[in-house]
């Protein structure tokens, strides 16, 4: 068994196959995987040479063998994979002469496509493609699965899950980093290690992209964070070109010399990638023969949560977890969730990031809501607008599982507690998907009154987690802040428990800070002081409102005082201007109409706030805002106002509208009923700027826009139009390739909802084109769509 040897003795992989295949006559453009069937003898010969050179593990020639990349009418994937495994095994039977135990690794490479939300490949489709290959590989007799050359954390997650959930084989995963230690999609070493170890891979590391020398600094970083055995498979240097061919020029001797350094640093399994040959491997093995016993490596104890591009470490400088994505006690937020206003939720995320949050708590629990579906959607959407790691906050096991599955990174999970039922539900999910879990110190008997009692429950949670192989570093204890208005000793108990838990178990801690002042007047004063006290007692992460200046003042002051803020730089940057009195916007007092026409956002906000004190919102809209928007719109038509200005005005108007809406709500009045319009970018199209421009303008003209997003199937658009009974649908397409799906959508709409009109727009369209595909209206620019909607729906 490979796992019994891995990490104890040095394991050797094979090297590249590309160069060898070319030598054997493979033409550029040919699919290498087909050679498993058409040139089996040559393939066996290549594998044999690596076994002769001394490799313990040889990879199958299946790098591109997945349904998304491999398209052949002649050969089935299953036959390819089966033959590929057989070829390696045959190579072993011919090439291994010393009776040593060797292994066949099923090679899985990337799909060559970018996953949603930025690409068009869904996580599920990627998973399915990998699952298929993994199943064939196990059936054919592979000994392990080696996922390699990945440059996207999301794709590697799909591949690892597919391998682990569908086979019993050990799973290794290696990724391409650049010299700066980053993935092409932005992730860094701590983020990648946290993700892969969370997914319970058996080994991880780096391959391709660079030569051995360039990999050294990245390897140092990997070894600093990884607890599992580390794999290193460099290219034979950086690629060079001559006479149309790519080549690599690090010689076997040079390669071997650096590989020795790599092994001495602590790599447990080594081999080669592009440009390396059996000779490189032979030399590498000779050069490292005297150090075949791996030095034991300590398990690392960093508590890390990650997103696609960012890792946040707990335990050092206190971390801020933004609490605002939560419906509890927030009328507007509840309303947004009920109306499925995803944008509202996303804006709550963005504003907290801008205010300094490190992690965002996400809670969308409401009665009568499909929480698993909504949680999944919000988590996905949030990850397309913020790189902050998320804390999935729910008591619904299904919602937790759904969100953890599609989360890109290693999430924080809020929460588990000392009740057996809770631990039975949450720990299996942590084991499966990885995550740092918040452990609440309460159990079947409630919340203990004493610090001692709470620390005991923390201990119980840590012990139970151990049974699942969940290390202590992945547990963050919440000793619970109880309001001092009902429990006078509450704050003292919490602070004492914080200290106790850190001392006793060495784990990180977390607190929902603002509970402490519940029921008291002027809560920010109590909250911010308690926050400081908690940080002083060892709080690793406070769940707070980062938009509260009181809390942030405590935070920045604490960081400056405790030397977490080097030379007080952040503090100075933030507060050096504080001595100046708050002033009106730079432009001074400007009438609302002018502010909107000029696209001045702050001024528009200021002017609207002043006006609303003396005038009715509806009056302001009709007398100031609509005329301003009309004037700008006319200018745009005449060619005196350009798109950026049109949109600046729209942005300013949007802000003023928000002020008026607040005022309306405060006065207990509701807005007028708005006409609904569905907007979508059609299936296959992932560019949505045009659609978003139209959306902003339509909203300013008081339409209720149901935005279905981009890459939307005809069925979804039609279903929504029918369900919401809308009279107008706007579709956008950027390129000729997607006009076809626009046509399909229009046909289906006219068939299923004949009273609904369709307006279309987008770079590729023209009046002729629009007529041809049966659209009711072609908007050559965004304002035209507004006029059409007004004529159609408001007359």
């Amino acid at each position: 068994m490979i796992l019994e040897r891995l990490g104890k003795e040095l394991i050797y992989f094979d090297g590249g196959t590309g160069t060898l295949l070319q030598e054997k006559g493979m033409k550029p453009g040919e699919l290498p995987e087909i050679w498993n069937l058409t040139h089996a003898e040559e393939m066996v010969d290549i594998h044999r040479k690596y076994y002769e050179a001394g490799s313990d593990i040889v990879l199958t020639n299946t790098f591109g063998a997945n349904a998304l990349k491999f398209h052949s009418s002649e050969y089935s994937l299953e036959d390819i994979v089966t033959a590929a495994v057989a070829n390696v095994k045959k190579g072993a039977s011919l090439g291994v002469c010393d009776n040593r135990e060797v292994y066949t690794a099923l090679d899985i490479g990337p799909t060559g496509k970018l996953l949603k939300p930025m690409g068009d490949l869904s996580f599920e489709d990627a998973y399915e493609a990998f699952r298929e290959v993994a199943l064939y590989g196990e059936r054919a007799g592979a000994d392990l699965i080696h996922i390699e050359t990945m440059s996207d954390t999301y794709e590697v997650k799909a591949a690892v899950l597919a391998a682990k959930e569908n086979t019993k084989l050990p799973v290794f995963a290696t990724m391409i980093f650049d010299e700066k230690g980053k993935l092409l999609t932005g992730g860094d070493v701590p983020a990648v290690v946290a993700l892969l170890e969370g997914l319970r891979v058996d080994a991880l590391g780096i391959n391709c992209g660079m030569g051995p020398e360039q990999m050294l600094p990245v390897l140092d970083k990997i070894l600093e964070y990884a607890s599992v055995p580390v794999i290193v498979k460099p290219n034979a240097g950086l690629p060079k070109q001559k006479d149309g061919a790519v080549y690599y020029d690090v010689t076997p001797d040079e390669f071997a010399k650096v590989m020795r350094k790599i092994v001495e640093k602590g790599a447990s399994a080594v081999g080669g990638c592009c440009g390396t040959t059996p000779e490189h491997i032979r030399k590498m093995i000779q050069t490292t023969a005297d150090i075949r016993v791996c030095a034991e490596r300590e398990p690392k104890c960093h508590t890390i949560v990650s997103s696609y591009g960012k890792a946040v470490q707990l335990g050092g400088k206190p971390v801020i977890i933004g609490e605002r994505i939560n419906p509890t006690g927030k009328k507007k937020f509840r309303q947004a969730l009920k109306e499925h206003d995803v944008d509202y939720v996303l804006r709550e995320g963005i504003s907290q990031q801008d205010a300094g949050a490190d992690i965002l708590d996400v809670n969308v629990g409401l009665p009568d809501i499909d929480e698993p579906a909504l949680m999944r959607e919000i988590v996905m959407e949030l990850q397309s607008v913020t790189s902050l790691p998320l804390q999935i906050d729910t008591v619904d096991g299904k919602a937790l599982s759904a969100a953890m599955r599609i989360y890109n990174g290693k999430p924080m999970v809020n929460s588990v507690n000392g009740k057996q039922e809770s631990m039975d539900l949450v720990f299996p999910l942590i084991k499966r998907y990885g995550g740092v879990v918040v452990g609440l110190t309460l159990d079947e008997n409630g919340i203990p009154d004493t610090a001692e009692g709470r620390a005991d429950i923390a201990g119980k949670i840590i012990e139970e987690a151990k049974k699942y192989g969940i290390p202590r570093k992945d547990i963050v204890i919440d000793v619970l802040a109880m309001t001092i208005s009902s429990d006078p000793e509450g704050a003292k108990t919490t602070l004492e428990a914080l200290r106790m838990v850190r001392e006793r178990y060495g784990v990180c801690t977390i607190l929902g800070v603002s509970n402490i002042s519940f029921g008291l007047p002027f809560r920010p004063a109590v909250n911010s002081n308690f926050y400081t006290m908690a940080m002083q007692a060892g709080l690793s992460a406070g769940i707070i409102n980062p938009l509260s200046e009181d809390m942030m003042r405590s935070y920045y002051s604490f960081c400056a005082l405790m030397n977490y803020d080097k030379n007080c730089e952040t503090y100075i940057e933030r507060y050096s201007m504080q001595t100046e009195a708050l002033k009106t916007p730079a432009g001074g007092e400007i009438p609302l109409r002018t502010a909107i026409e000029k696209g001045l956002k702050e001024e528009a906000h200021h002017a609207a706030s002043l006006l609303v004190k003396t005038q009715e919102p509806l009056f302001i809209i009709n007398e100031q805002m609509i005329p301003a928007l009309d004037a700008v719109g006319k200018g745009f038509e005449k060619g005196t106002v350009f798109l950026p200005q049109l949109l600046m005005s729209a942005d300013a108007a949007k802000i003023a509208f928000a002020v008026l809406k607040d005022a309306l709500e405060k006065s207990g009045k509701t807005e007028q009923k708005k006409e609904k319009i569905v907007l979508a970018t059609v299936k296959g199209d992932i560019h949505d700027i045009g659609k978003n421009i139209v959306k902003v303008l339509l909203e300013n003209y008081s339409f209720h826009v149901i935005d279905l997003g981009k890459d939307v199937s005809p069925e979804v658009i039609v279903e929504t139009a029918v369900k919401e009974d809308v009279k107008l649908v706007g579709l956008s397409a950027l390129m000729t390739t997607t006009v076809g799906s626009m046509e399909d959508t229009i046909k289906l709409l006219h068939e299923r909802k004949p009273d609904c009109r369709v307006m279309v727009g987008g770079a590729v369209l023209s009046q002729e084109y629009a007529d041809m595909i049966g659209a009711d209206f072609y908007g050559k620019d965004a304002m035209q769509s507004v006029y059409y909607a007004q004529n159609l729906l408001k007359e």
Binding site: M118, Q241, G244, S387, L647, I686
Partner: protein, 216 residues
């Protein structure tokens, strides 16, 4: 105004109209924000090239039917196939602002396009210098979508330059590049210098385009 600012203004559709101070501030801050996050990446490979007649081109094993490309490459015997990108963070940034400030999205989009072109120009100038030493002259870049050079060939260029692995540049089923601020192109290499080859925008036949350089 520097070149990339001028180009960004052109992409925003201003033609010869002046840009006011507010928009100029927006453009400047957009460039500043992009500067912090763009990851300039480029990869290319050189292939044998044949231009058998005025309709057809053969690059490596790839056969392309395009009059405009054939015209651009006439007299060349090698071709550079390239992919370049500003990276995925630009898409994230634009998505983020589309929720809060749409005007900035439009400006970011124009600025990013200008940065990508500027980067490619600079890179091509360097490559041109290197190739001159080997006796080759470079033609202007020619991308799928120019004239009758069909967008479908993007896929082939990406495959031949191995962009997914090297720079993380891939394509959707609908032929859209991901990350979105990316370019694929062909550059002809000839042993003879061609005088005054028209490049980019000016080479396009659509002379009434509102985005045209030095348009009316």
């Amino acid at each position: 105004m520097d070149t990339r600012t001028k180009e960004a203004v052109r992409y925003l559709g201003y033609g010869r109209h002046a840009v006011d101070d507010t928009i100029m501030t927006l453009i400047e801050s957009s460039f500043a924000e992009l500067n912090k996050i763009v990851q300039y990446r480029i990869t290319y490979r050189i292939f044998e090239l044949e231009v058998p007649d005025s309709d057809n081109v053969k690059i490596g094993e790839l056969k392309i039917r395009s009059k405009n490309l054939a015209k651009n490459l006439r007299g060349c015997d090698q071709a550079v196939m390239l992919g370049a990108t500003l990276g995925i963070e630009v898409d994230f940034l634009m998505k983020r602002y589309s929720l809060t400030e749409m005007s900035r999205v439009v400006v970011l989009q124009a600025c990013a396009a200008a940065m990508l072109e500027e980067y490619l120009d600079k890179w091509q100038k360097e490559l041109s210098g290197k190739m001159r030493e080997k006796g080759y002259y470079l033609r202007p870049r020619f991308s799928p979508g120019y004239g009758d050079f069909c967008m479908d060939y993007q896929k082939d260029i990406l495959r031949m330059a191995d962009t997914a692995r090297r720079i993380g540049l891939s394509i959707t089923d609908g032929n859209m590049l991901t990350p979105s601020k990316s370019v694929t192109a062909v550059i002809g290499m000839s042993t003879e210098e061609t005088a005054c080859h028209r490049a980019g925008c000016e080479a396009c036949e659509k002379s009434d385009c509102m985005y045209r350089r030095s348009s009316v």
